[in-house]
Symmetry: C2
Subunit: 406 residues, 2 copies
Amino acid sequence: MQYSFASRAQTLLTSPLRNIRALAKRDSFISLAEELPAEELFPQHSLAEAAAAVLSQDPRSLQYGEAEGYGPLREWLSQDLGRRKGVHVQPDHILLTTGTQQALDLLVRVYVEPEDPVLIESPTSPGMLQVLRLQGARIIPIEGDEDGLLPDELERQIVEHKPKLLMAAPNFTNPTGVMWSLERRRQVLERCAKHELLIVEDDSYGDLYFADAEGIEARERIPSLFSLEQPQGNHVLYIGSFSKTVAPALRTGWAAGHRRLIEMMTAVKQMADWQSSLLNQRILQHMLDSKHFDLEEHIRMLNREYRTRLKLMIELLKRKQWKHARYAVPEGGMFLWVELPPGLNGDALLRAALLKGVAFLPGSMCSPSEKADGCIRLNFTHPGRDELLLGMNLISEAVTEFTARS
Amino acid sequence: MQYSFASRAQTLLTSPLRNIRALAKRDSFISLAEELPAEELFPQHSLAEAAAAVLSQDPRSLQYGEAEGYGPLREWLSQDLGRRKGVHVQPDHILLTTGTQQALDLLVRVYVEPEDPVLIESPTSPGMLQVLRLQGARIIPIEGDEDGLLPDELERQIVEHKPKLLMAAPNFTNPTGVMWSLERRRQVLERCAKHELLIVEDDSYGDLYFADAEGIEARERIPSLFSLEQPQGNHVLYIGSFSKTVAPALRTGWAAGHRRLIEMMTAVKQMADWQSSLLNQRILQHMLDSKHFDLEEHIRMLNREYRTRLKLMIELLKRKQWKHARYAVPEGGMFLWVELPPGLNGDALLRAALLKGVAFLPGSMCSPSEKADGCIRLNFTHPGRDELLLGMNLISEAVTEFTARS
């Protein structure tokens, strides 16, 4: 029969990431395209212990749970956000989601109507763009610099478009890795509050702060937009996850914010999938509460290793092929954003790289305009050091061929 | 600030089920309102073994997985559907979802535009109605009798409305527990195929077939719409889950169908939450593949126990308060659908019952019209025998009070 799909659904099939993933299944393929943590660093043993404990206790850990998510995990999170990030939020202002991607999707489903204007930090993550496209939002990119979003530009667009939302990731923005300055955070918050604009603050990467490898104190960190607004504020929905700090397969993220936002998102969550896995939430909570596991120490270990991998990548970019490439070295996160040597196009380079058995994310996927077509996003957290070396060699080869040709 | 939610999102907050759930958290409260399996029957020990095995092996069980779901579990499912249900489907025509609720939601998101007419078996599950309401579908209920949907009525509505979809659950429909006859299945399928109408066949309850307690052979079962159409058909999307047969907290359901449908649903799944928990899928697959666990034997045990609980409920309905109530005894599933004595309203009875510390699902939640207002849905799978007795006593008391008053 002829299936007649909803018109916007067609936009979902255009993602080149789908083809990259299909190729990446080949054994020797190296992908610097994805957003994966290093699996050899997962707290596998601690999670095994937690799973054994949870499954030997209460059979209700296998039952349906509450749409909001497991209460004791929301309580743990409430305390952890307060202690480590100066974010004060009650457990009943937190919704547990299937990763931050679901938190974004749920918020957009209850908040955005087709044709509604939505501001996004540009460039941005492909996942955020897809969510907005399926909902039919009018996507308005806002530029930034090395300190974060440009506040005057932001205000100009707010006044012109009267948008429903601003979506941003002030800590190590995906893909650029920019960390917004405190001053810039204050300015952005002030403009949004003045115009009553809701901000979705994605803090998926904030814990991957490499200064933390040296034992930086939590209070030395730049506060989130969410915490800057406290105690009275309600312009920010704060989202994050355990995918980068513990393990993605637990599929546990969260949204925290005003009770009305959380209530509405919980209602749509219940309709979308009833709830995320209670078993995973209980295993996670059991491990986090155990004396044998220290999340801060674990994150510090991750940061030491990821910082080393980033340094290696930076070294490899000092080769002559990359002489005319530009990049800022991020202080954390998972990605290096590279502006290719002049004349090179990310999509074309990717096609050449795929033939060599390596992938990265072309900039075109991170922007609704053509502005990022000359850029690529390189992931340095998943490939081990050998793989990283080999992968960068292959990409460098592809760059050489293009440069020689032009 | 003033949040301005999308207009349809408001429909999400009206569910009385939300209040029932809040009340049900009280310790002594008895709920016959929910759709819960009996937790004391979960294969807790086998799952603990499987979790230990999976977590001691490959750390990739904790990594991001594929949006389609874990390959070996899709292969297992493909074989199981063939062996036990005569459903022949290749693993790459299967998408693993977060329960059947997500399968419904994903399909509706890619297939239905606002104002599109959609036919549903009536009465139907509250979850199905919510999905359609949020998408803005025009919901058209189709009546049935004790053999299933009425085919002439179905065809009349197809011709009048040119709908996008028919949503139905031929095996122990939620809430009525009706099992469609083979003849009726053929008729419905033939009308839909003639008019090129896609059917979403929800087989969440098909395994809970109490004749199976006596060891009925798989081939004696009435085949699904999906398998009746094979090998050439493509008018049916077949959905189901492990929530009722293994455990809900694994949040593992599936959709099986034509490659184009599965591809589009996979794309929207990736946007919605990347993927369901790979860890859960691997634990489940490990247990199902293990020699120490036999799913058929496990389901047979469930059916013996659930049949006993249903019998007890039927006995309790023989009391005088229920003399003028009407119900058909289902051959399986999780619910008994009761038409209350004349003059009684399900919502009003629920308010009285809640004060007594017991809940059920009022019929009003299962229908877009007022047709089911005089009915209630009773769950007999979750409450243990004592709880079931006590719960039914309390509901009977409420009925007596109403009947005495009128």
